[in-house]
């Protein structure tokens, strides 16, 4: 027999697993470029790293989605972070390590990692 606490534990675990079903306007969206160019440049490990990080940190208000080619193929892998109420931030040449830092700094604490953006790379 499951006790009340055990049932609650199942609820909590499943809730975070099922968070991606249902869409909420207040959600933070992380979009990974997954066209041929992105995949060739290594977008898949980046995507997996992001999903893993989101799970580890229990970020239930974050939706990880993918998109096609947006034309800046030489800057792939590209990752967009869209926080509700603020401008989209595009990160370029993302690696799994960079992705983890983006989540820790930008998604969780709200500080854009400027050196990974298009402008930041140029500077």
């Amino acid at each position: 027999m499951k006790t009340l606490a055990e049932l609650q534990a199942i609820r909590d675990r499943m809730k975070s697993q099922m968070a991606s079903r249902g869409t909420d306007a207040d959600d933070i969206r992380i979009v990974v470029g997954m066209a041929t160019c992105g995949i060739a440049a290594g977008a898949r490990p980046v995507l997996n790293a992001i999903v893993e990080e989101v799970e580890n940190r229990k970020l239930t208000n974050v939706k990880v989605t993918q998109t096609g080619c947006i034309g800046m193929c030489k800057l792939e892998p590209l990752v967009d972070v869209i926080m509700p109420g603020s401008e989209k931030v595009t990160y370029v040449h993302v690696t799994p390590e960079k992705a983890r830092r983006i989540i820790a700094s930008h998604v969780v604490n709200g500080n854009v990692v400027t050196e990974y953006t298009v402008d930041g790379e140029k500077a």
Binding site: L4, I10, M14, Q17, R21, T23, I39, V51, T67, G68
Partner: protein, 595 residues
């Protein structure tokens, strides 16, 4: 690892018959092929409601809604959408905003006006996983009533919510629970009526297929409230998917100690058994259902005593419909006031309708009580196909009546429908256009009840048969005007003298069509003509020689060689050979064939 995408394949009966099982296994194969099986979660859900566009596949987190998906399309969805993030546009169920962007699925005409309370989990969770049900506050309502409420407190909350029986009668659910609670007995039972038999109705089936635990939890709450330890779900054997998912759900609940003794360690016992019905319409009548559950012949009992006093195995029994139970957990969790804020003065909450007939968006819809018929047909239903005119809507199946086009602005609730001579019924809503003959419709429903009458009482067994014969003579053009009056009298006689609900409501389709479409009956009787061209005995096909160009198309289409004529000369139909199939009519390029 957390899956980054969820693919939901509809596993309702409609989509299953459209091969969604094969689509599911094709997804499994293709995901594996691409090495995506650990990244993507694939599940089968209950009904999404938009059955006309099935098989349906939804991909989260984007919420992309694919329609008419075929097995051959699966590879494209996996390779394009899942792998590369490009939705397959040709399969989208899409409506565009003014700026050309895609509308969110909840903003499309079919879903926008709906309010999903009972169907909240259908098409979202995997009905074969108790864990997914738990994630959406599953079994929390039960926990709440047992730990925080007294049985009387639960009943008071249900009473306050204004919930009325969704099986058709519309009796106050709280009162029913009160009567069962007040009956003194060592043993009591909770029964769920899932013997949905109306032609064209599939609300209960979809709920059981999509969210079986919601019904189980509600029965447990009812058991606590009235003091019962045993529940029975009487479900028809013709619903194999619903039966299978119920069996799985009951098994999982027992495994978790949610059904059985000392549930959740809270000291209350409750268990549920299934009883399969063999598909007799009369077994949806509560006393006949109780007989059948006991293993006896499915015939109604005299009432009173009502089941709340003397029901299953002569013990006090609470019996509610599937959809009624579907509301209970939400009332407990969100409060009676929340529930009562939806709907009209005397009909609270929402109602699920199975939309069928001459309508574009066939499917399952849940709307707040008080929504007009116009909203259902024109907005949610997407109007009548082929630009035809709306003629009437039939609610309540063989027990209900017709709502004519002039009453399209009627607000749908229990009392309004009864006032215009129909009834809510269980929720079948069949739309008819100008090609439907109302006499024929009445005859169709009456033929059904004549077939399904159990034969225990005379008014129903013989009265309905005689009524059917009179209707038949109207459709053959052999009835007289006196027959129409006699029919009406017989209708009232059957209604007043039948033993159970089946007989008492069987004449309703005849009465309501006589009321609103009497001119059609008169046309059949006096002029021997069927205005809609449905009643074969009254239709004759002719070719207008002035319009016929002698293309020979009708001659070639005719299955019985009843048409003769030379090329480029007007053709003629031999009435003695004609079987009135209408094949000539459909082929004619000049509309030269008249009936």
């Amino acid at each position: 690892m957390l899956e980054r995408a969820h693919i939901l394949v509809c596993g309702g009966t409609g989509c299953t018959s459209g091969n969604s099982n094969k689509i599911y296994s094709e997804f499994q194969t293709r995901l594996k092929e691409q090495g995506l099986e650990s990244e993507v979660k694939l599940i089968m859900t209950g009904c999404f409601g938009l059955c006309a566009r099935g098989p349906i596949v939804v991909v989260y987190p984007e919420g992309t809604f694919y329609q008419h998906v075929k097995v051959e399309d699966v590879n494209e969805i996996v390779c394009e959408h899942i792998l590369k993030g490009r939705p397959v546009e040709r399969l989208l169920h899409s409506e565009k905003e003014e700026d050309g962007s895609l509308k969110a699925i909840n903003e499309t005409a079919f879903y926008k006006r709906q309010k999903r309370v009972v169907l909240r989990n259908c098409g979202i969770i995997n009905p074969e996983s108790i864990d997914e049900y738990l994630a959406y506050d599953g079994y929390k309502a039960y926990e709440k009533v047992v730990t925080q409420m007294t049985p009387q407190g639960v009943i008071d909350e249900i009473k306050k919510s204004g919930l009325r029986g969704r099986g058709g009668g519309g009796f106050s659910t709280g009162m029913k629970w009160q009567f069962a609670h007040d009956s003194v007995s060592d043993i009591k039972y909770v029964v769920c009526n899932a013997d949905e038999g109306d032609p064209g109705a599939f609300m209960d089936r979809s709920l059981l297929e999509g969210d079986p635990h919601a019904v189980i939890e509600a029965m447990m709450i009812a058991g606590y409230a009235i003091g019962a330890k045993q529940g029975y779900i009487y479900v028809r054997a013709e619903y194999p998917i619903a039966v299978q998912r119920l069996e799985i759900a009951i098994g999982q609940a027992r495994e978790y100690g949610i059904l059985g003794k000392n549930i959740m360690g809270l000291g209350h016992d409750f268990d549920i058994e299934l009883r399969l019905g063999a598909g007799a319409f009369v077994c949806g009548e509560e006393t006949a259902l109780l007989n059948s559950t006991e293993g006896k012949r499915g015939e109604p009992r005299q009432r009173p005593p009502f089941p709340a006093v003397k029901g299953l195995f002569e013990k006090p029994t609470l019996i509610n419909n599937v959809e009624t139970y579907g509301n209970i957990t939400q009332i407990i969790l969100n409060g009676a006031d929340w529930f009562a804020s939806m709907g009209t003065e005397k009909s609270k909450g929402t109602k699920v309708f199975a939309l069928g007939g001459k309508i574009n968006n066939t499917g399952l819809v849940e709307i707040p009580m008080g929504t007009t018929l116009r909203t259902i047909i024109e907005e949610i239903g997407g109007g009548i196909p082929n630009g035809k005119k709306f003629k009437a809507a039939q609610t309540g199946g063989p027990s209900g009546g017709c709502i004519p086009a002039e009453l399209i602005d009627t607000k749908i609730d229990y009392d309004n429908l009864i006032a215009i001579g129909s009834m809510m019924g269980s929720g079948g809503l069949i739309v008819m256009d100008e090609d439907n003959c109302m006499v024929d419709i009445a005859k169709f429903f009456l033929e059904f009840t004549v077939d399904e009458s159990c034969g225990k009482c005379t008014p129903c067994r013989i009265g309905n048969k005689r009524l059917y014969e009179m209707l038949d003579s109207v459709t053959k053009g052999t009835a007289t005007m006196e027959d129409l009056d006699k029919m009406e009298q017989l209708c009232y006689y059957i209604k007043e003298n039948s033993l159970c609900g089946l007989g008492q409501t069987a004449p309703n389709p005849v009465l309501s069509t006589l009321k609103y479409f009497r001119d059609e009956y008169v046309e059949h009787v006096k002029n021997k003509r069927c205005p809609a061209g449905v009643c074969k005995a009254l239709v004759s096909f002719k070719i207008d020689p002035a319009l016929c160009i002698g293309c020979t198309k009708c001659k070639r289409n005719c299955p019985v060689n009843a048409i003769s004529g030379e090329i480029k000369q007007p053709h003629v139909i031999d009435a003695s050979k004609c079987i009135k199939c209408g094949a000539c009519l459909q082929g004619c390029p000049k509309n030269a064939i008249v009936r």
